[in-house]
Amino acid sequence: MSGDGYEWATPRVSPVRLRPREVSFRERVLDRSSPLRSLDWVLLVAVGLLVGVGGLLIWSATREHQITLGLDPNAFLKKHAINAVIGLGLGVAAALVDYRSLRAYAPIVYGASCLGLLIVLSPLGATINGAHSWIVLPAGFQIQPSEFAKLAIVVGMAMLLGEKRDGEDTPRDLDVVQVLGLCALPMALIMLQPDFGTTMVFIFVILGVLSVAGAPARWVGGLLIAGVLVGGLVAPHVLKDYQLNRFKVVSNPQIDPRGVGYNVRQARIAIGSGGLTGKGLFHGTQTQGRFIPEQQTDFVFTVAGEELGLLGAGGIILVLGLVLWRGLRIATLATDPFGRLVAAGVVSWFGFQSFVNIGMTLGIMPVTGLPLPFVSYGGSSMFANLMAIGLLQNVHMRSHESGPRNF
């Protein structure tokens, strides 16, 4: 085989095999390096459960009334599903976008959010269900920019505090001041709406991110005290009567029995009458009788309390807990400060908002217009929430690329 001086090495592999192997979709999905393999599936399933239960609760709360109005009984359920699908798309985008480019996008997201908040205050803003926090777009679409602003400041703060500096692990005073400056503008705009609940979410997100970033305790403690002072001393002068009533009514439901006191009382009756196992989906007398206003949005937890009972409503709390737990796990495992801070911000956001939302239906927190993440009906919040989950997944996947596996 050497006569013509040439000896063709017999290829050990065929040329065909030199090219990348044609892998099946199945193989690709299950590949070790596949992004799907490195997703936090537990988090995803938990969020999916919440969105799914949310759909059922929204359906139950709206179905009967839609029928009496002669409208499609499933309209709210459908829109919830559409919101979830769009949110999923946005979340996937947020999960797949390059980390570095995320930093480039952050200023744009931040700027867009602030612009949105400004528009709300302009004549283009609209008041829906008593909250002046909407922009009404043609074709029946509405946007609540404050939901996106939460996302913007989480990313913005993570960017500012996550810049690595030589020999420095923790933010300096200047960084903290920068962060506060960053958050001041959207917070001021939200206060002007006025949306006290979202402002409080901002404060807790700032506290959470600063704290996890390792900011000096004096800043964290100082901000906390400042927040309490502002809340205790300034709020009574700035807030309107109806807003103050929302606080007073927590301790005394007799206040304002036809206004917010009514909501609180009816919400408590709904949840309390649910008992251990609930009255069954679609069979809650309080829910089907529409005694609770805004039940598909801010008071959606009362549907769970009444119709699914302690088992269902407690289950929702536990699944929310699972989401928060996975978020904190992602923060712990994050390989860079940016990812860790994003995770910490998202957990603070969801944690505080869930607590206030469920707490108000249980009569231990004041009534605010905050939705229950993933469960409540509403496009803007669904989009923002799922994008935040996308970001968590993004952080999680990056931790897998370079960090130890720690399942």
Binding site: I269, G272, I292, A331, R340, V347, G351
Partner: protein, 736 residues
Amino acid sequence: MSDRSRLRIVLLRVMVVSILLTLLGRLTYMQVAEGANYRNAASANRTRDVITAPARGQILDDRGVALVTNRIALVVSVDRSELPAKKKGGSLELSRLSLIVGIPVADIERIITPCIYSKPDGTRVKAIDGCWKGSPYQPVPIASYRSDALAQVRRMLKIVEQEENFPGVSVQYEAVRDYPAKTLAAHALGYLGPLSDTDLKQDKYKRLAPGTQIGRAGVEAVYDDQLRGQDGVRRLLVDKDGNTAGVASETPAIAGQNLVLSIDSGVQRAAEAALQQQIAKTRTMPDTSKDRSGNFKATTGAAITVEVNTGRVVAMASYPRYDPTDFVGGISTKKYTELLNAPGHPLISNAVQGSFAPGSTFKIVSTSAAIKSGAYNLKSYIPCPSSYLGKRNFEGESFGTLDFRETLIRSCDTVFYQIALNLWKREGGRTNKAGAPEYLANEARDFGFGKKTGIDLPDERAGVVPDRAWKLRYWKQVKGEYCKGAKRRPKTDPQQRVDQIYCDSGYFYEGGDAMNLAIGQGDVLVTPLQLAMAYSAMVNGGTLYKPQLAKGFVSADGRTSTEIKKVVTGRLDVPAAVRTYITSALAGVTKPPGTAKGTFADFPLGQVDVGGKTGTAEVANNKKAPTSWFASFAPVVHPRYVTVVMVTEGGTGGTTAAPVVKKIWDAVYGLQGAKSPLKNGALPVGMPCVRADGTIASPPCIAPRTVTVSPSPSASTGTHALGLPWSEEARRRQLS
């Protein structure tokens, strides 16, 4: 990652766990520990009871003639809670409403203000005049219009058409009381008024909604339960906006029963007319007494006719009278105050709620007492001088020596003075010893005086029978004033001596007290009704009946009919011979030389023989004209009816009261051109019937089997009217 960051994440974890536990703990507490409470609240939330008012029963006379019916009225109501909660309290809306209903805004505001309510800060607001007595959460009716008053109905339609301009204002058709016979028998019928919060505390009203119209006076009050029927309740399933989602349960309203009175509207009309005309006539007559000047005032009057063998009241009139229509749709405070304070107190039924000195009509009691004491018998002759111990006969006449028959016919006072003093001495004279026989007072009580007859009307007076115990009780009540006066006045003042004597010894039952009582004057007070029942017992064989206005009930659909039994409340302890003697003596009063001979001179006594006794009770030391009485029965043989007429400040019994009685007998028996509604002077037997079309047929008619029942025990108690400013003492002060 810095240690600090790691630590902070752990801290965040702890916080997350603690908020989750907080929420789970609170959720468990609410759903498990307090679940039952919330479940109750939830079920109360979901149902609303809608009360459907039953049609109130009609009130009919003995022949089925409607005295009280229902008509449809257009009622304008204001729901305070729906008025805009503006600073001005919706005054713009109210002024708009004011223009339409023609009631000043201030008045509307007053009418709709609840009498008792708390402001949001917990302070209670004092009740104002004319405030709303019902529930603060209920629409308040402010005006009611006849549905046939077209002009007004058209104006009300404006409210319906421009609903948005009148938030909280509703216009609805409601059944209200109607009085086809106008003011006829108003005092017996009574009127309705809204149920107040204080009424709700009474057991019998517990189940009613505040503001429900309930009987406030007359038989409307006493037979409220039967007339009202039972509320229907529709328990609706509702959502929070009050949208009906279905009916959970339904109890239909049961219409009230029709009340059949023993009152005969024909006799009643004649009695009212005769009383009114006689009072008007008396007021034109000069009072010739030397103690007074001008015409007779004839301030008030009463006339009552009862059936002697049953106690049924055939006619009951009181003057002055009121118009029950004033109370329909709510009476204004102004109007009500006017009625309360009007001269003669028109809201008072003088026949049962007024008590007066009976004068000589009381002499049947004194006669019976004299004979029962054993000191006299039916053959006794007693001198009738013109005066005895300084007390003169009415016109100073003297008739020599008279037997009891002549004494009663001529109404000789001095005979009874002697008898009274004699009996008083037998009782022990000036003593307060308990257990003394007290012939006159005991006899009076035997005839039913001094206690309520138990008629089915509210606020009946018991009257006063003064005896030794009463004298002592009364002295204890009032001696303070006299003793103070005795101390304060100078010894030269004659009043000082009077005060001193009363202060020292006013508790003694003096001979003068007995002499006054024997001729029905002094402290004795009786109601015209009591007198009628006493005379009934005298002439019917000695049975005291409970007087009754209600004859029975006929259900709204006519299927059931109940007749109320007569009730015996006592028997006269008077020997038959004495009763017969007195009855036959009284038959002579209407004939010469009787005290009523003049009045009955033109009466066909040959057709219907009539007996009676005049009474002329001097009051207030003759500063006022005497109370005029005539107590009469007819026919003399087997008497069927007793009629008593009384006119205060009216003059003698023969001239003022007796003519009214005569006209009532005319009406009962169809004499002297009067058209009698009664056949041969007999009341209809049996109950009226309800025909298939709902109209009423007079008896005799084909009625369902009628059940006879005893009167319900509540019938004698009744609702007290709205705190009438009336008391025994007030009446006494006015008269003496």
